[in-house]
Symmetry: C2
Subunit: 225 residues, 2 copies
């Protein structure tokens, strides 16, 4: 135990150790206790074998944060682990970048990232953002497109996007990037509503400049114009 | 030299080896030749000491790409290095995430990333995207806010943002994240136009939910509402 406690939020990125940064690894190795969503511990089992690990289920975000603060105040070095989607004090490779890399270079120019989950954000706000990003020709990165409880929102988003993009606009879908069951699918705006998506799928919708070349999506910065 | 050539685009992230992933490091170590913008080689000098390195200046993007393809076709293992801003086959910690981490958690919810450089994108397109993102309450990440040749665009962007955000909306500026001369500045929408920015500055403009707490910017996902 350290004399003065500390609290570090560590970005794991997609989870695979090949995409963990040295800084993130050092933080985990220096921790007295590691706290996080239970689904994330599988990715760092080797690194935290001899550490105290506190795994809590989804929806226990507030409990996790409180526990982390309590332990740090008690003098421990605390690491809170987080997937790459969160912006964290020790940054990781975000899911957005990991998925984009697997698709080629779709977000090499302006892009907007938005979650379709209306559990904590009103659907009206999400719809306004969808329309704004689609109309202003941002490449769009859609997170949490569908879940067991949220089924109709994705179709609604596809319809909105269809109003502002041509049917042939390329779209890439990545599920579980850099994990053993990784899946990459290419489609178009016209085919998007019929693709299988869930909470682990990231959808990248091209803009008017995005091209599909040898199974890769590329959004040029202008050199190709 | 390998028998069959290969071409790998490697994301260096901010450059510091602490934020280089293991996968990126392995790609550089396995390369016969490393090609890239000359400004990036300082970050990986230790890793590429005994390699053939081809450093080309900015604006030589097409020449770099052609050379990389030629060398790969000739049978070499080629690594093209790229800063974290590019989306790459081997993903890095993007500048967006590195800067956000230094500011706290400003992009924990929907955000839009856009470059203010109108060298390759018409200003009318940029202005349309600025207005759309500002009006739809996206957290906004502004890249390339100003350069020696582009001076007036940043003031124009600040004015546009001011039409859709309150003057007190928190803004964070990060220059050279995780590099020796890193600088982090907090301001508000009303003070933004008067801050010093250049090509190495990333500007993160909060949305209506973003709070400043103990010098950190936080955009809640809803748990705090």
């Amino acid at each position: 135990m350290t004399q003065t406690g500390s609290l570090c939020v560590v970005g794991l990125g997609p989870g695979t150790s090949a995409l963990l940064t040295g800084q993130a690894q050092a933080a985990l190795q220096g921790a007295d206790v590691i706290i996080g969503y239970d689904g994330y511990f599988q990715w760092i089992a080797d690194l935290v074998r001899h550490k105290e690990c506190i795994a809590l289920p989804l929806t226990q975000e507030v409990a996790r944060a409180q526990l982390a603060v309590e332990r740090a105040l008690a003098g421990q070095a605390v690491s809170v682990i987080s997937s790459g989607d969160d912006v964290v004090v020790i940054p990781g490779v975000s899911a957005v970048n990991a998925c984009a890399a697997l698709l080629g270079a779709p977000i090499a120019h302006d892009f907007a990232v938005l979650s379709l989950s209306d559990l904590l954000t009103p659907w009206a706000v999400i719809e306004k953002r969808l329309a704004a990003a689609a109309e202003a020709d941002f490449v769009m990165v859609l997170l949490n497109p569908k879940s067991a409880r949220r089924q109709w929102q994705f179709a609604r988003a596809c319809a909105l996007i269809g109003q502002h993009r041509t049917p042939e606009t390329p779209v890439g879908l990545v599920r579980n990037a850099y994990r053993p069951d990784q899946a990459v699918v290419l489609t178009t705006v016209s085919g998007l509503a019929d693709t299988d998506v869930d909470m682990l799928t990231t959808v990248i919708v091209g803009n008017s400049q995005t091209r599909c070349f040898q199974s890769r999506l590329i959004t040029p910065r202008g050199y190709m114009c």
